[in-house]
């Protein structure tokens, strides 16, 4: 058996460098095709540049925004709001989830709120948030937290609930005290699940940041897109779309890297992934 396997491995040609490179670039292939199709369609004259500006003109627009500094201000502000909102959701969500797992009273209070609130479109509360907190960062970040905290809370509860009884017993058996149990056993054991919740919360923070900016105006990618739309500035609108896509990609990739780093011990770290 083993001999046959070894022979089979030997018979398989090693991938050439260009093949390895092609494999690495493969994920970008479909995106590239889409962009080429966009450019071709825009140049074919089927649509006016107002309806569909060419990709190249959108890139040119992003470049000129970068030179004037608008790009940095707008993406920077959107990122700042999304990340601050995400971090508050992460810390607050884990804390609420932990409290709900440990105390019947806290669970009794929060459980119905989570059940009703999770499926609700939290953005519907935006007019209320504007009334209470105004139009600036405080209200934008608040609505982000209001939205992104739910998946963190539910993931934390599910993670803590899923910790094996034997794991807790082992720790107790070796002399762990209550406080040590929480920090040294329960949280690390629940970490894979909590990370999954955070991976949902991060893009959600980005989405809500952009939508809130669109609805409330001001600086930020969402606000800039609405302004461009009002001035019939078609490349400006599409530039926003491209910027959101890039920022989202960077955020999600960063989160995946963080997960791999933190969960180096986890089974998934030994398996090949596509992410």
């Amino acid at each position: 058996m083993a001999g046959v396997d070894a022979a089979a491995v030997k018979a398989m040609p090693r991938p050439a460098p260009w093949q390895a490179l092609a494999w690495r670039l493969a994920p970008f292939f479909s995106i590239g095709l889409l962009l080429i199709a966009w450019e071709a369609l825009a140049r074919s004259g089927t649509f006016t540049p107002f309806v569909l500006p060419a990709f190249s003109s959108v890139v040119a627009r992003i470049w000129s925004d970068a030179i004037t500094g608008d790009l940095l201000i707008n993406t920077g502000l959107t990122l700042y709001r999304a990340i601050v909102g995400f971090l508050i959701s992460a810390i607050g969500g884990v804390a609420i989830g932990m409290a709900m797992s440990r105390s019947v009273g806290v669970r009794w209070f929060f459980d119905p709120i989570i059940s009703v609130g999770f499926p609700m479109p939290k953005i519907a509360f935006l007019p209320v948030v504007i009334l209470w907190l105004g139009l600036y960062d405080l209200s934008k970040i608040s609505i982000i937290v209001f939205d992104a905290i739910f998946p963190v809370v539910t993931a934390t509860i599910a993670g803590i609930k899923g910790v094996e009884r034997e794991l807790l017993w082992s720790a107790r058996n070796m002399g762990a005290r209550d406080r040590e149990m929480l920090w040294q056993i329960v949280l690390p054991a629940a970490l894979p699940m909590i990370m999954t919740g955070l991976q949902v919360a991060l893009p959600l923070s980005m989405i809500v940041a952009v939508v809130a900016e669109m609805l409330m105006g001001g600086y930020g990618i969402g606000g800039a897109m609405m302004t461009a739309s009002r001035f019939a500035d078609s490349p400006g609108v599409f530039a926003g779309i491209v910027e959101i896509a890039l920022v989202g990609l960077v955020l999600v990739k960063g989160m995946t890297m963080l997960r791999r780093r933190l969960l180096i011990w986890h089974q998934e770290a030994n398996e090949p992934t596509t992410a």
Binding site: S170, R172, N173, M174, L191, W265
Partner: protein, 264 residues
């Protein structure tokens, strides 16, 4: 013999209350005395409450009916005087082999240099040298259980509670681990309570085998099973084979009963 008993289990019954449904009498009127450094196997069909009895001794469940005394003291909560090894290892997956074994020693407040040395000793004792920095997910089943055994032995418990420790391993690894456990036990003598449903394993490892009945679990008989453990041909010896056969007949009756009364 009776005055030197280290573990005295006296008329213990245990009601298991599932989150939903009726409560089940898991153990009924169980009495057992175990002397220091004795190796006792609890043998019975699945669902007979043998693990429950182990968890009561470990202090993971409170003893509500009857009493369990260890060195004359009633069992409180879990503690490092009674080390436990589980079937599915229960290693901390985010800690390396070294980190897992260190954990208990840190909780005992052992001084740094001393505990590093002790960890290395126990890694060598169970033959895991070279795998100190591996995570459990990178180890085979046998290696995981070696780590779990080292982790428990390192805190130097007086009593070793083993809950079907080799039940999740393949036949060859299981056999290897059995003889290794015996040799470790002969070098560091401890009282061992070993839960299993494998008759041959029980007869081979234990000094006495307590055969348990189907639910509600009672101790049906206690059989002496002292053999020369170092005899390489023990599995072929007539006395050994007869003993396995005798106990197997006792267990079979209970296994059939357990199947008939199993709640659907």
């Amino acid at each position: 013999m009776s005055d030197s008993a280290q573990i005295v289990i006296d008329r213990v019954s245990h009601l298991y209350r599932p989150p939903r449904g009726r409560e089940v009498l898991a153990l009924e009127d169980v009495s057992l005395r175990v002397t220091s450094r004795e190796f006792v196997a609890l043998l019975g069909p699945s669902g007979c409450g043998k693990s429950t009895l182990l968890y009561l001794i470990g202090g993971f469940f409170p003893t509500e009916i009857g009493s369990i005394l260890i060195d004359g003291q009633p069992v409180g909560g879990p503690g490092p005087d009674r080390g436990i090894v589980f079937q599915h290892f229960a290693l901390f997956p985010w800690k390396t082999v070294r980190g897992n074994i260190l954990y208990g020693l840190e909780r005992q407040g052992m001084e740094r240099g001393e505990r590093e040395k002790r960890v290395q000793d126990f890694i060598e004792l169970v033959g895991l040298a070279g795998f100190e920095d591996s995570y459990p997910s990178q180890l085979s089943g046998g290696m995981k259980q070696r780590t779990a055994i080292a982790r428990t032995l390192a805190i130097d418990p007086k009593i070793l509670l083993m809950d079907e420790p080799f039940g999740a391993l393949d036949a060859q690894t299981r056999h290897l681990m059995q003889s290794e456990l015996l040799s470790i036990w002969q070098r560091t003598p401890k009282t061992v309570i070993f839960v299993t449903h494998d008759v041959q394993e029980a007869v081979y490892l234990a000094d006495r085998v307590a055969v348990m009945s189907a639910r509600p679990g009672r101790i049906k008989t206690i059989v002496d099973t002292k053999f020369d453990k170092n005899d390489p041909n023990i599995f072929k010896a007539k006395a050994f084979v007869d003993k396995v056969d005798e106990i197997w007949n006792l267990v079979r009756v209970e296994a059939i009963k357990a199947q008939e009364t199993r709640p659907s």
